[in-house]
C-alpha cells in the first residue's frame, strides 16, 4: 500500500506516492534526490540528517515521510540564496569547521535554529545545543568557532 505525500522542500513542491514506512530522510535523499542530507546512524544520535521542518530543526530519520505531509522543509541545499552563502555556511568555511564534510549539513541546520533562538550564544551554550550532533573529525573546537563567527556576522533581524 502506498500513500500520497505532498510537501515543499526548499521552496519547491513535491508530491509522491510512498510506502508508509519510508523515512523522511530517505524520501528526501532517494525519492526527491537531495543528497546533502546524510544518514550517519540508525538510532537518531548522529544528527547528520538534521533539516528544518516548519521552522524547527528536526532529525529527518525521526519522521516518516507521510508525517511530513503538507510540511515546509528546508535542507542544506536550500540555505544559500542566489549563490550567496549563509553566514553559518561562511562561518564553517572561515573557521575550518569541517573536515570530511559528512556531519556538516546537519551541524549547519542545527546551528541555524540555535542562532534563531540564541542570537549571541556563549561557548557553553553552543556546546550544549550541539548535543544532538556528532562529529568525528574536528573535536568540535572549530565548529564552536564557526558558530561564534556566524553569530557575529548574522544580519540584524528586521
Amino acid at each position: 500500500m502506498k500513500l500520497p505525500v505532498k510537501m515543499t522542500i526548499n521552496g519547491q513542491s513535491y508530491s509522491h506516492e510512498v510506502e508508509p514506512r519510508l523515512l523522511l530522510v530517505h524520501y528526501i535523499r532517494e525519492t526527491v534526490g537531495l543528497t546533502g542530507t546524510h544518514v550517519g546512524c540508525d538510532t537518531s544520535q548522529c544528527g547528520a540528517c538534521t533539516i528544518l521542518m516548519n521552522g524547527q530543526a528536526v532529525k529527518a530519520c525521526n519522521f516518516f515521510a507521510v508525517q511530513a505531509d503538507g510540511a515546509n522543509i528546508m535542507t542544506i541545499e536550500g540555505l544559500a540564496k542566489d549563490g550567496e552563502l549563509h553566514p553559518i555556511q561562511q562561518g564553517f568555511w572561515e573557521k575550518h569547521g569541517l573536515q570530511c564534510g559528512f556531519c556538516t549539513p546537519g551541524m549547519i541546520m542545527s546551528a541555524y535554529q540555535m542562532l534563531e533562538r540564541y542570537p549571541k550564544p556563549s561557548e557553553e551554550l553552543i556546546r550544549h545545543q550541539l548535543e544532538g550532533n556528532l562529529c568525528r573529525c574536528t573535536g568540535y573546537h572549530n565548529i564552536v568557532k564557526a558558530i561564534e563567527w556566524a553569530a557575529e556576522h548574522m544580519p540584524a533581524k528586521k
Binding site: 510506502e19 514506512r21 535523499r29 532517494e30 534526490g33 537531495l34 543528497t35 546533502g36 542530507t37 546524510h38 544518514v39 550517519g40 546512524c41 540508525d42 538510532t43 544520535q45 548522529c46 547528520a48 535542507t75 542544506i76 541545499e77 540555505l79 544559500a80 552563502l85 555556511q89 564553517f92 568555511w93 572561515e94 575550518h96 569541517l98 573536515q99 570530511c100 564534510g101 559528512f102 556531519c103 556538516t104 549539513p105 549547519i108 561557548e123 557553553e124 553552543i126 556546546r127 550544549h128 550541539l130 548535543e131 550532533n133 556528532l134 562529529c135 568525528r136 573529525c137 574536528t138 573535536g139 568540535y140 573546537h141 572549530n142 565548529i143 564552536v144
Partner: protein, 799 residues
C-alpha cells in the same frame, strides 16, 4: 594562460578549497550515487558469536517480490579468501617471530561456520532497498550454536572454544622485540625501583560518520567493472580484490573512492561486502549498491586496539630509566583483517622507546583469535597503544620513586638530535627536540602555579588532577624495502603525476586519498608555490584508479610526507623540462636558466625571460622546439621514503573529578606538537583537535563491549557506544615547535594521528593524579566513566 602567484602559500592557513561543496550539501559520497537499473543489497548475518552452519534455505527469500537474486558462499565458486597483507612467518625471515602467523581463511560469505556476530552468510539483491531487507529476513539459516570466547585474556586459555583449524589454541602469532637478557639484567640493578602494572587498552570502533558503502557496476559490453567504495586507498582495494579474491583482470576494474566521510583507518581494508557486491554485479550484469546501517558498521568495520598488557619499569635511584619490560596480548578478532598482524607488532613494539633514553627494552606480543569483529588499524594503530603503555608506566614509576612526573620525564628525554637516533627497538628516529616541546607546554601550563592551585583545591576537598603525555609516533609510512623485510605484502611508496596543460593550468593526480584531510588545498599549495602560479590554476585529482597511475593511499599520516613528496618530485621534473624549452626559446644553455617567480629566466639577466605559460604552450605546440625533446609537459614520480618520520610533542590535561558522582570534567587541554614543517597550520590544528577528541573519547567514554557469555556486541549502536560530544570537550590550547625531518625535502612529518596517540594517557594520568589523595596510584581499565571512577573512589574509601 597561467599567471603569476602573488605570494608563497606554504605555511599559510588558506581556507579549504573543498569546503564550498560540503557546506552547500553538494559533496558526492558513495551512497549519493544512483545508476539506472541499480539493485540494492542486504546481507544476512550471523546472530551468533560462534555457530556451525548446517543449512541455508534461500527459497522463500528468492520468491519475495522484487528480489533479483540470493547468493550464499556456496554460490561463489572460484572465489578466494580475503587476503591478509602482512605475513609474520619465520620462513619469510621476519624478525622477532616466535610462533608463525596462523593464516586462516576469511571467505567473503562464510559457509562452514560463523565466527562473530555479524559474520555475513548470504546476500539478497532486490529492486529496492526495502525488498532486499524484507527478503533477507526470510533467509532461513539452520545454526548449530557453539561456545564462544570474546575476552582477550581468555581467548588462548586452555579449553577455550577453537575458532580455526589452522590456529591451535587460538594463537595467531607470537612475536618479540628488544633485548631480553639486557632487560632482565637492568631489572636486577642494585637499588633499582621497579613497578609492574596491568594496563588495558580497550577495544574501540572507529566510527567515521559516513558508514561504509559500495556500488558495483559491471558493464557486460566492455567487460569492465566499476566499484565506487568508501576507501582510503582505492588502488589497494583494486589490487587485493582482483589479484587475490576474485581473480579478475586488474585493468578491467576501476575503483573510485569519491568524497569519503572520514576513515580513521577503518576504510583501509578490503571488506567482504564490496567483494560480494562486485562479484554479484558481474554475475547479474546489473549495478549493486550496499550501504551499511550504523548497526552493521559496529559489527563489521574493523575494530581497533584491544590490548591487555603487563608493563614493568625499572628506575635508578636518581630517576633514570633503566629498563622497560612489556608483555601484551592483542585480540585480533575472528579473522585476520588486511593489515592486522602489523598493528600490535611492528607498529607497536617499535615505539616503546618513546622519547626517553631507555637502555634496555623487551616486548613480547601474543596475537589471539576470538569470536569478535576483526581488529586492525584505527587512528594511530599500535602507536597509541605503545604511547599509552610508556606514558602510564613512566608516571607509575615516578610515583613509586617519589619523584615529580614532569621532572622524571625531563631527566630521561633523549637529547636534541638531527639525523639519526638508534632506539632499542629497531627503529631509527629522524630528528627530535623533545625537551623544547615539553618546556613550551609547561610554560603554557604554568605548571608550578597549577600544583599550588591543586594543593589549595585538595584542602577544600576538590579532586583536581594533571596528566601528561610526552609522545612520539612513526608516520610517513613507509620505506618499502624495510616494511617488506618486516612482512608487508605491499610497497609503501606513493605516486604523483603533474599534468601541465597547454595554457599552463595544472592538474595533479595523487595516489593519496582525502577523506577529510584537505589534500585539494594542501597539495595545491605545494604546486602553486613551486610553479609560481595562483592556486586557482591547480586542481588535485585523487581517489580514482581510472585517472591516477597508482597509489598506496592515505593512512599512517603519510599523505603530505610521502604523497606530497611524489608531487614535488614531478614538479621538479616539469621545471627541468621547462628549462630546456625556455633555454631554446631564449637561446641560452639549460644550465643557465633559473625558474623564479613563475618564469624561466637567464641567470643574471632578469630581462631575458619567458613565463611558465609560454613554455607550457610551446611544449604542446612545438614548432620552435629543442631538437630531440619530447613534446608535452607531464611528469610522473613514485616516491619511496628512506625512513619513517617521527613527530612528537607534549600534551597535558587538567581534570576535576566529582567526588560524589565520579564524573570527570576536563578543565584544560594543552598540546604542543612537533610535526616538522607545516603546509597549512589551520588544517594541522584541525587534525590535532580531532585527534585529541578521539583520544579523550577512549579515555573517558568509548569502548566496544562484548557480553562474555553470549558473545553479543553490547555496544552495537550510537545509543550504546558513547562517542565524545561537544559539551564533554574544552577548547584546546595548542602550539607547535618545528623540528623539520631530514627524510624528505619539504621537512614535513605528519599530523593526522598525533592527537589520538597523545591524548589518552594524558587524560587517564590526570584522573589518577586527581584521585591520588584517596590513595589511588593506578587505574587498569578505561574508559573513565563516572561509574568506573565512582567505584574506584568507593573502593579507595573502603581501604
Amino acid at each position: 594562460m597561467a599567471t603569476v602567484a602573488a605570494e608563497r602559500l606554504f605555511g599559510k592557513s588558506i581556507k579549504r578549497r573543498e569546503d564550498p561543496r560540503f557546506i552547500t550539501g553538494r559533496g558526492q559520497y558513495v551512497d549519493d550515487l544512483k545508476i539506472p537499473g541499480m539493485t540494492y543489497a542486504a546481507f544476512v548475518r550471523s546472530p551468533h558469536a560462534h555457530a556451525k552452519i548446517r543449512k541455508i534455505d534461500t527459497a522463500a527469500a528468492t520468491r519475495h517480490p522484487g528480489v533479483v537474486a540470493v547468493f550464499t558462499g556456496k554460490d561463489m565458486t572460484g572465489v578466494n579468501s580475503l587476503p591478509c597483507g602482512w605475513d609474520l612467518r619465520k620462513e619469510k625471515k621476519i624478525p622477532g617471530v616466535i610462533q608463525d602467523l596462523a593464516i586462516v581463511p576469511h571467505m567473503p560469505l562464510t559457509s562452514d561456520a560463523a565466527r562473530h556476530v555479524g559474520d555475513p552468510v548470504a546476500i539478497v539483491i532486490a529492486d529496492s532497498h526495502e525488498a532486499a531487507v524484507d527478503a533477507a529476513e526470510k533467509v532461513q539459516v539452520d545454526w548449530e550454536p557453539l561456545a564462544a570466547v570474546t575476552i582477550t585474556e581468555k581467548a588462548a586459555a586452555s579449553g577455550a572454544p577453537k575458532l580455526h583449524e589452522g590456529a591451535p589454541g587460538n594463537v595467531a602469532f607470537k612475536w618479540e622485540i628488544g633485548d631480553r637478557a639486557a632487560t632482565d639484567a637492568a631489572f636486577k640493578t642494585a637499588g633499582a625501583v621497579t613497578v609492574k602494572k596491568r594496563i588495558v587498552n580497550q577495544r574501540l570502533v572507529a566510527n567515521a560518520m559516513e558508514p561504509r558503502a559500495c556500488v558495483a557496476r559491471y558493464d557486460d559490453a566492455t567487460g569492465e567493472l566499476t566499484l565506487w567504495v568508501t576507501s582510503q586507498n582505492p588502488h589497494v582495494h583494486r589490487l587485493l580484490m582482483c589479484a587475490f579474491v576474485l581473480g579478475i583482470p586488474e585493468h578491467k576494474v576501476r575503483v573510485i573512492a569519491p568524497d569519503v566521510g572520514g576513515g580513521f583507518g577503518s576504510k583501509i581494508f578490503l571488506y567482504n561486502e564490496e567483494v560480494v557486491c562486485s562479484w554479484a554485479s558481474r554475475k547479474l550484469k546489473r549495478p549493486v549498491r550496499w550501504t551499511a546501517s550504523r548497526s552493521e558498521a559496529y559489527l563489521t568495520d574493523a575494530h581497533g586496539r584491544d590490548h591487555v598488557t603487563d608493563a614493568e619499569i625499572a628506575l635508578a635511584r636518581d630517576g633514570k630509566i633503566l629498563g622497560l619490560r612489556v608483555k601484551t596480548t592483542a585480540n585480533l578478532g575472528a579473522y585476520l583483517s588486511t593489515f592486522a598482524p602489523a598493528v600490535p607488532t611492528f607498529l607497536y613494539g617499535t615505539l616503546l622507546n618513546g622519547v626517553y633514553a631507555i637502555p634496555a627494552i623487551h616486548c613480547e606480543v601474543t596475537g589471539v583469535f576470538s569470536n569478535t569483529t576483526a581488529v586492525d588499524a584505527y587512528r594511530g594503530a599500535g602507536r597509541p597503544e605503545a604511547c599509552y603503555v610508556v606514558e602510564r608506566i613512566v608516571e607509575a614509576g615516578a610515583r613509586a620513586a617519589g619523584m615529580d612526573v614532569a621532572d622524571l620525564r625531563k631527566k630521561n628525554f633523549i637529547p636534541k638530535f638531527s639525523g639519526a637516533f638508534q632506539t632499542q627497538v629497531a627503529v631509527v628516529y629522524d630528528s627530535g627536540d623533545y625537551g623544547a616541546a615539553w618546556d613550551r607546554m609547561l610554560q603554557m601550563l604554568d605548571y608550578r602555579k597549577f600544583r599550588a592551585e591543586q594543593e589549595a583545591a585538595r584542602k577544600q576537598g576538590r579532586l583536581l588532577g594533571i596528566g601528561f603525555s610526552a609522545y612520539i609516533e612513526a608516520c610517513s609510512i613507509a620505506p618499502s624495502k624495510l616494511v617488506g623485510a618486516l612482512g608487508a605484502g605491499a610497497g609503501l611508496y606513493e605516486s604523483g603525476k603533474v599534468r601541465v596543460h597547454p595554457t599552463g593550468m595544472v592538474t595533479v593526480f595523487t595516489g593519496s586519498h582525502s577523506h577529510g584531510q584537505g589534500h585539494e588545498t594542501t597539495f595545491a599549495q605545494i604546486v602553486a608555490d613551486k610553479l609560481g602560479i595562483p592556486i586557482e590554476q591547480v586542481d588535485i585529482v585523487h581517489g580514482d584508479t581510472g585517472s591516477v597511475a597508482f597509489g598506496m593511499g592515505t593512512y599512517g599520516s603519510r599523505s603530505a610526507s610521502v604523497g606530497g613528496t611524489a608531487i614535488l618530485m614531478s614538479l621538479n621534473k616539469v621545471i627541468e623540462k621547462g628549462k630546456k624549452i625556455a633555454a631554446h626559446l631564449l637561446e641560452a644553455a639549460p644550465k643557465d636558466i633559473d625558474f623564479l617567480g613563475g618564469q624561466f629566466q637567464v641567470k643574471g639577466a632578469p630581462g631575458k625571460a619567458v613565463p611558465f605559460g609560454v613554455v607550457s604552450l610551446t611544449a604542446y605546440v612545438p614548432h620552435n622546439y629543442p631538437e630531440g625533446l619530447e613534446p608535452g609537459l607531464e611528469e610522473t614520480s613514485f616516491y619511496d621514503p628512506s625512513n619513517f618520520c617521527f613527530p612528537f610533542g607534549a600534551h597535558a590535561c587538567i581534570v576535576e573529578v566529582d567526588r560524589d558522582t565520579g564524573n570527570v570534567r576536563i578543565l584544560r587541554y594543552l598540546a604542543v606538537d612537533d610535526v616538522g614543517n607545516v603546509i597549512n597550520p589551520m588544517i594541522v590544528d584541525g587534525m590535532v583537535h580531532g585527534g585529541i577528541a578521539q583520544g579523550v573519547g577512549q579515555a573517558l567514554c568509548e569502548g566496544a563491549v562484548y557480553d562474555g557469555q553470549s558473545g553479543q556486541l553490547v555496544t552495537g549502536s550510537m545509543m550504546d557506544y558513547a562517542l565524545p560530544k561537544a559539551d564533554m570537550l574544552p577548547m584546546y590550547e595548542t602550539d607547535r615547535t618545528v623540528t623539520p625531518t631530514p627524510v624528505n625535502p619539504m621537512g614535513v612529518k605528519g599530523a593526522g594521528e598525533t592527537g589520538t596517540i597523545a591524548a589518552t594517557p594524558a587524560v587517564v594520568n590526570a584522573v589518577v593524579d586527581a584521585l591520588a589523595p584517596l590513595g589511588v596510584d593506578h587505574i587498569e581499565e578505561m574508559p573513565m566513566t563516572a561509574q568506573r571512577v565512582w567505584k574506584i573512589i568507593q573502593g579507595a574509601k573502603a581501604r
